[in-house]
């Protein structure tokens, strides 16, 4: 009995040490990626190539989801606001929810599952098929040549995708409330215009999406590079990328919101 308790405690301690150790390895890797980003910046076409895969190819899911989220917000917002006779404020509701929260957060969650998992799987498979080792043998540093361009492409794409998501959402809200339900078009846009502040709302949303972009791509490239070189290892790493980045996005969002919107309006 005592033995079991002791081994249970040992197990917890072992896991705690292991996860702290892994966090340390990940941080060191992150710094290494930053230090070796020179090649990506000098040969920017490497990044542009990855921008296509992570950014452009993620557009469809971002655009379609943004549209539907905006449409649902419009419907729900209208239903509630109408009870108080203030359905003309639905534009403000849609825009503020999207720009402050849903745009950066949902776009980042979608980005993690669409692009983050792809980055992890690609780097993990390159490792499993010895492509990274072969590159090292050719005196080309895989972190500089493979990891850093993907990292920067993700960091650059994320704010644009979040902005795209918000724009499509505002448009979706417009479609539902103005065109289908018949809310006054002028008040939809003008109330939105007067209520949304550039500094507090749009800029803060942009800053959030930058943080999310760094977090998601850093996790994705680390999990890929760190994946055990087997089919099982790569699939596990891909899952971890999606799960960890989703949790990190939501946690970071809370922290950032607490800092940004404390005492606003």
């Amino acid at each position: 009995m005592l033995k079991q308790i002791i081994s249970g405690i040992q197990n917890i301690g072992h896991r705690a040490i292991e996860s702290v150790w892994r966090l340390g390895v990940a941080s060191r890797f992150f710094i290494l990626v930053l230090l070796k980003s020179g090649t990506s910046l000098r040969r920017f076409n490497l990044v542009i190539r990855e921008l296509y895969f992570t950014g452009v190819l993620s557009l469809i899911i971002i655009v379609v989801s943004g549209l539907f989220v905006g449409m649902v917000l419009g419907l729900q917002g209208y239903e509630t606001l109408q009870k108080y006779g203030s359905e003309s404020a639905v534009g403000t509701l849609v825009a503020l929810s999207l720009v402050r929260e849903l745009g950066p957060v949902v776009a980042a969650l979608l980005f993690a599952s669409r692009a983050g998992s792809a980055i992890t799987a690609e780097i993990g498979l390159m490792k499993a098929t010895e492509q990274l080792a072969a590159m090292g043998m050719m005196a080309v540093d895989p972190i500089a040549r493979v990891v850093a361009p993907r990292f920067w492409a993700g960091v650059i794409s994320m704010p644009f995708l979040a902005a795209m998501f918000s724009v499509m959402g505002v448009f979706g809200g417009y479609l539902v409330t103005v065109l289908f339900i018949g809310v006054d078009e002028g008040s939809y846009w003008s109330q939105m215009q007067s209520a949304v502040d550039f500094r507090f709302d749009i800029l803060n949303g942009f800053i959030k999406s930058c943080f999310f972009g760094v977090a998601v791509t850093a996790i994705a490239v680390f999990e890929g590079y760190d994946a055990p070189p087997t089919a099982e290892g790569v699939s596990g790493a891909t899952t971890r990328t999606v799960v960890t980045s989703s949790l990190v996005i939501l946690g970071l969002d809370f922290i950032l919101t607490a800092f940004m919107f404390r005492g606003v309006s």
Partner: protein, 270 residues
């Protein structure tokens, strides 16, 4: 020139914290030679290649490549040294997102400032040497195993290295591809004046093309010699390996307690 020593391995030891892999290896390889390193699976052959390329550090002893002690070099010097080495991985390890042409051109683009027209000519020459000039626009997933390895071979000679290491180049090839790869190794070594180290357990193919053979077993060099000496060797390990005998110095059975004891027959009097 042919007798110039390119690689000197001196009393090389390597061990993981729990077990020793290599124990006092001594080797000497000259330019223009094809050298085979043979041994059973897990005998430390691939570890030896990793030590020569500086991917891991020896526990003691050293590898000297072209006069430089590999493990004492810093990262930049090591990368500089590696431009003089090529390595052929077991299944080619071609970059799957690049075409055959771009795979072979990869190192030229990374390490030189050659104009694109010259890179094109060089790549086609390298591909011609392995007989795949016509396939330069193919993607790696369109190649057979033997073709992929030929492309990888063209890629590893892209910058005319002094040494190429082959990690099990014959694994999983049909007899035709097998002898194509074998002959290419010999021919490229001769025409480029480089050194080739072939890690393999394909006895018959490799004895046809190599100049010298090292056998590694349990982390030490169990035997060495020219193919002729090896074929005629009466050393039990070499004999077992060359002829693929089931039992011998390398036992068939994994170490176990007595058979009778395992079956609980101890107390029964026979």
């Amino acid at each position: 020139m042919a007798s110039e020593t390119l690689i000197e391995v001196n009393d090389l030891n390597f061990s993981y914290p729990t077990r020793a892999i290599l124990n006092g290896i001594n080797m000497s390889m000259r330019r223009g030679q094809v050298i085979a390193v043979m041994g059973g699976s897990g005998s430390g052959k691939t570890t030896l290649l990793r030590l020569i390329s500086g991917a891991i550090q020896p526990t003691s002893g050293y590898v000297k490549f072209a006069g430089e002690v590999v493990h004492e070099l810093d990262r930049d010097a090591l990368f500089k040294l590696r431009r003089k080495m090529g390595m052929l991985f077991q299944f080619g390890a071609l970059f799957t997102d690049l075409s055959v042409f771009d795979n072979v051109a990869f190192q030229m683009r990374e390490h030189t400032n050659l104009p694109e027209s010259m890179i094109r000519d060089l790549v086609l020459m390298k591909l011609h040497a392995v007989g795949l000039r016509g396939g330069h626009q193919l993607m790696p997933n369109e190649l057979s195993g033997g073709m992929a390895r030929r492309v990888a071979l063209a890629r590893s000679i892209a910058l005319d290295p002094m040494l190429i290491m082959y990690d099990e180049p014959f694994t999983g090839l049909d007899p035709i591809s097998l002898s194509v790869i074998g002959n290419l190794i010999r021919r490229l070594t001769d025409s480029l004046g480089m050194t080739s180290i072939v890690v393999t357990h394909d006895v018959h193919e490799s004895l046809k093309i190599v100049d010298y053979v090292y056998f590694i077993a349990d982390g030490v060099i169990a035997a060495e010699g020219t193919p002729q000496e090896v074929r005629e060797s009466i050393a039990p390990f070499v004999h077992q390996f060359i002829h693929g005998e089931e039992d011998g110095p390398v036992p068939f059975h994994y170490p176990a307690q007595a058979y009778r004891k395992d079956l609980n027959l101890e107390d029964i009097v026979a």
